[in-house]
């Protein structure tokens, strides 16, 4: 789908990345503030000159004969953290600004106002002035404006960072809709793991200008470096599962994960749907014998793959539950008392209510574009 190789040196900071993404979807650039995410996307968009860059999107190279294309010719949509709507136009004027300069370079039909307005809920806003919009509305208009340029790639640079939690919740569903309904590859910059969990199909973990690791969310959720970036509380394996059935009475969904079935409260779940959930390491209880008479709904069997030190008093236990891995944080004392070691069979317990907040409906499988 796209490949990015870029080098940029500035004031002692060195950006040096090599990113390869083969499937369409949302690529999350994830890392702490100052790790070079915004520098990288500005290089990709052409707003910042790189010392060296070779970027190819869908077979279209952003440099010709050694000269890199100007930002205005790249066909890359960009949604900035601060929206950057034009104050001297109303909402319609802002949208038209993008539409008028759209290039028809994609094989897919051109994105029109008739598609974008309902998709982003923009109809009631069209005649409003920019200063009459809330933060969330501004971002939706900025999204629409960028989409109407018919971009090959859409860059979203922390579009939710300047919004409060309620506004964020208001915009997130629109982003999910974009991912699921339009076949535009997106680069989503964020330092919020929550957003990444909800939107990303591919994650690039960045640290100090370098790519630390890249891959699917499941793989990266097990990456030891992640702890330093998301904080110890947010460490936990991300798992994929298939909803087998939903109990109408209790609202509990049975979800097949590897050899086990997890029971999770999931509003949006229907049988056959794919879901993604994070099981926080701090919520997973381990037992070395089959537990009985517990209120816990989820008891998974597995074997310990490895144990790594977490902080001075705790350890992180990687448990292979057959087709998936989960993480559990235990105290060193508990680990010694239970005699935890690699290869040992364990039962991993997690309350359904613990997972609930981290369950997300996964995007429907997309068609692969004909190449």
């Amino acid at each position: 789908m796209f490949s990015i190789r870029a080098k940029k040196r500035r004031d002692g900071f060195v950006l040096d990345v090599d990113i390869e993404v083969s499937a369409p979807g949302v690529v999350a650039l994830f890392g702490r503030s100052g790790c070079g995410k915004t520098t990288l996307v500005n290089v990709i968009a052409g707003l910042l000159a790189a010392d060296e860059a070779h970027i190819v999107i869908d077979g279209w190279a952003l440099d010709k004969n050694g000269k890199s294309l100007l930002a205005e010719h790249r066909g890359i949509g960009y949604v900035f953290q601060d929206a950057r709507l034009f104050p001297h136009f109303d909402v319609m004027g802002n949208l038209r600004y993008g539409e008028k300069r759209a290039k028809s370079h994609r094989d897919a039909p051109r994105i029109t106002l008739e598609v974008v307005a309902p998709l982003l809920g923009l109809e009631p806003l069209l005649t409003r002035r920019v200063h009459q919009l809330s933060g969330g509305e501004r971002q939706r208009v900025a999204l629409g404006r960028a989409l109407l340029t018919n971009p090959r790639l859409l860059i979203l640079d922390e579009p939710l960072a300047s919004l409060d939690a309620a506004r964020r919740e208001e915009v997130l569903p629109y982003l999910e809709k974009l991912r699921d309904e339009l076949a535009i590859p997106m680069i989503y910059v964020s330092h919020q793991f929550e957003e990444v969990l909800r939107l990303a199909t591919h994650v690039v973990l960045m640290e100090k200008g370098k790519v630390l690791s890249q891959g699917s969310l499941d793989e990266l959720s097990l990456h030891p470096e992640l702890r330093a970036i998301v904080g110890p509380e947010a460490v936990g394996a991300v798992i994929h599962g298939l909803v087998e059935s939903v109990d109408g009475g209790t609202g509990l969904a049975n979800i097949r994960v590897g050899n086990n079935v997890l029971r999770i409260h999931l509003r949006e779940a229907r049988a056959g749907a794919h879901i993604r959930a994070q099981l926080l390491a701090r919520d997973i209880i381990l037992a070395t014998t089959r537990p009985d008479n517990l209120s816990v709904r989820n008891i998974m069997t597995g074997t310990i793959a490895r144990i790594v030190p977490d902080d001075e008093n705790t350890q992180l236990v990687y448990v292979d539950i057959g087709g998936a891995s989960i993480l559990s944080r235990v105290t060193g004392a508990a680990s010694v008392a239970l005699g935890l070691r690699a290869g040992l069979q364990v039962w991993a317990l997690v309350k359904s209510v613990s997972i609930r907040g981290h369950a997300f409906v996964e995007a429907a499988p997309r068609q692969q574009p004909a190449l």
Binding site: A71, R74, G77, D82, R84, H88, G98, R101, H131, T149
Partner: protein, 229 residues
């Protein structure tokens, strides 16, 4: 208060010269302000100082330099006359040029301040939307700096009505051609019994100046509202 035909002439001439000077210098002032704000280049500091020179030089010196450059035998003046038949010395066009040079720094200043207030991030946004350099200048930068441009133009116009030293040195004091309001006032003061004329012209100057400043403020408010601030 009735003005004589000669006095009306002087007022009319002042207005026309000030207007022409503004129309002539505005595009150049926008270009210079843009260069000084948005482009970092070698010699930027020198250009900045050069533009501001008329503020610190005695106006007579400016008039004298104009005479050297644009006089009939000056390098530019001679060329203009030989090729286009344009004469600047002793004409109202020359008066407009002298006025433009003198009020240029005021105009650049006002435009620069408003340009500095235009978020360069909006220009970046326009780039990512596919707007080339000229396109984004005319659709984003220029409209957003409009308050400063109008303020600069009105200030320069008002100041231009009263330009004296550079004008009288460069184009002299010819009734009906270069005798603007301040020059007419000066002439009246030099004439025995001209006190009443001088007082009337002073009153006219005073009113025009006041109207100019009020107009500038009024326009600035309207434009700010138009831009949604």
């Amino acid at each position: 208060m009735m003005l004589t035909a000669a006095e009306v002439d002087a007022v009319r001439l002042s207005l026309s010269i000030a207007l022409r000077s503004v129309l002539f210098s505005l595009p150049l002032a926008i270009l210079v302000a843009w260069l000084l704000t948005r482009r970092k280049f070698r010699g930027g500091l020198l250009l900045d100082a050069f533009v501001h020179l008329p503020l610190v030089l005695p106006p007579v010196v400016v008039g004298y330099l104009l005479l050297l450059l644009f006089g009939m035998r000056g390098p530019i003046g001679g060329w203009l006359y030989a090729n286009f038949g344009i004469q600047l010395v002793f004409t109202s066009a020359g008066a407009a040029l002298a006025t433009a040079v003198m009020s240029f720094p005021l105009m650049v200043r006002a435009i620069r301040i408003s340009l500095e207030g235009v978020d360069a991030g909006l220009e970046d946004a326009a780039r990512t939307l596919g707007a080339g350099a000229l396109d984004r200048f005319f659709t984003v930068t220029l409209p957003l700096m409009l308050p400063g441009i109008l303020a600069g133009a009105v200030t320069a116009f008002s100041a231009g009505l009263g330009e004296f030293g550079a004008v009288i040195t460069f184009v002299s004091n010819i009734p009906g051609e270069t005798r603007t309001l301040p020059l007419a006032l000066y002439t009246a003061l030099q004439t025995p019994g001209g006190d009443a004329v001088a007082a009337r012209l002073a009153a006219v100057s005073f009113s025009l100046g006041l109207i100019g400043l009020l107009a500038a403020e009024f326009i600035a408010r309207r434009v700010r509202r138009m831009l949604g601030r």
